[in-house]
């Protein structure tokens, strides 16, 4: 139940707390704050500093999301189980990350290599431009040596996570 600005208590059918005690101008101020954060998140990365980009682009995205969730979705006055539900789902996403990152974020393991991924490492590029710096890993790695013949960025027979050269520049 929330109390209306005119002093009357307003019930909705499901009788939850909605945090609607504030006047409409309260939300307009929050919106203005979100716009200021948006400008910062666009301007920050323009400076070209990596750490600053991470903070202004992603740090501010988290702050903006929390403002919308807490005050527009009224999670700040929502029942506790809703928090538990949402946090559990976020943990599930984190579990997905830890379950797959070991595979996705490595070029090679004890008994396997990922030639398509290796194609994009500096070590690999150096090996094929300089010749002898590259130390071969195993037989599969030999296979990867054929990859420089593949036009840079195109999907190769090895399932490369490719990048095709744009047909034309824009933006």
């Amino acid at each position: 139940m929330s109390q209306a600005a005119d002093g009357h208590h307003v019930n909705t059918k499901h009788g939850q707390s909605h945090g609607m005690d504030h006047p409409a101008s309260y939300y307009v101020k929050l919106w203005a704050l979100l716009l200021v954060l948006l400008v910062i998140s666009i301007a920050g990365p323009m400076l070209g500093h990596k750490v600053l980009t991470l903070i202004t682009a992603f740090g501010i995205a988290v702050v903006k999301a929390l403002i919308v969730a807490a005050f527009f979705m009224h999670l700040n006055v929502e029942k506790r189980f809703v928090w538990y539900l949402l946090v559990t789902m976020l943990l599930a996403v984190l579990m997905f990350f830890f379950g797959t990152a070991a595979d996705v974020m490595k070029y090679e393991g004890a008994h396997w290599t990922k030639p398509s991924a290796y194609l994009y490492t500096e070590e690999f590029k150096k090996a094929f431009s300089g010749g002898d710096e590259h130390e071969g890993h195993d037989s599969e790695d030999e296979d990867s040596k054929a990859l420089p013949n593949v036009p840079y960025g195109e999907e190769s027979a090895h399932g490369a996570t490719g990048h095709s050269a744009p047909k034309a520049e824009h933006h």
């Binding site: 909605h18 939300y27 949402l86 997905f96 996570t161 095709s164």
Partner: protein
């Protein structure tokens, strides 16, 4: 609604985590991301944040039993959704004309999949708000304004994370 949003977190969360892993691992993804249209992304972020304001004002009006005002704000929110889709259409048309299609490479596949899935949520939210708004005009089922509003804010939050990933971090 919260259960639905819980499932949505895993859908979009999985997609975004996959993107982050690939983006960190493969330098060409960063090169490809340099070709996305930051201006279009910024305009759409502004539009969605503003439409979220309208959605919460619709909720505010519904809490005060003002169905007509709630319907008015819902239509403003729908206007935001339509603006978002128009900007997105222009942006995609431009990209496709320049040869960046869903089959160009895995970055663009991800780009169109993530933004397309989000776009479908925008369409679903706008449709739900339109349906609810007609009840609001008759002063009925005003509690539904809060429910569609929560959904709309979630769609906004997803975009808040898509925006830096696809348009800002270059």
């Amino acid at each position: 609604m919260w259960w639905l949003l819980g499932s949505e977190i895993t859908i979009f969360g999985g997609l975004l985590i996959s993107y982050i892993m690939m983006r960190i691992m493969y330098a060409p993804w960063a090169e490809a991301a340099a070709h996305t249209n930051t201006l279009a992304g910024s305009i759409n972020t502004f539009v969605l944040l503003t439409s979220s304001l309208f959605a919460v004002l619709a909720h505010h009006a519904a809490e005060h039993k003002n169905g007509k005002l709630a319907a008015f704000y819902l239509w403003l929110t729908i206007g935001g959704a339509l603006t978002f889709l128009v900007v997105k259409s222009v942006e995609w048309t431009n990209e496709i004309r320049h040869g960046y299609t869903i089959t160009s490479n895995t970055f663009w596949s991800f780009y169109y999949t993530a933004a397309g899935l989000h776009g479908m949520h925008v369409i679903a939210g706008a449709t739900a708000m339109a349906i609810v708004s007609f009840d609001c005009l008759r002063g009925k089922n005003l509690q539904r304004v809060e429910i569609v509003g929560i959904y709309w804010h979630f769609v906004d939050i997803i975009w808040i994370f898509l925006f830096p990933l696809l348009y800002i971090a270059k």
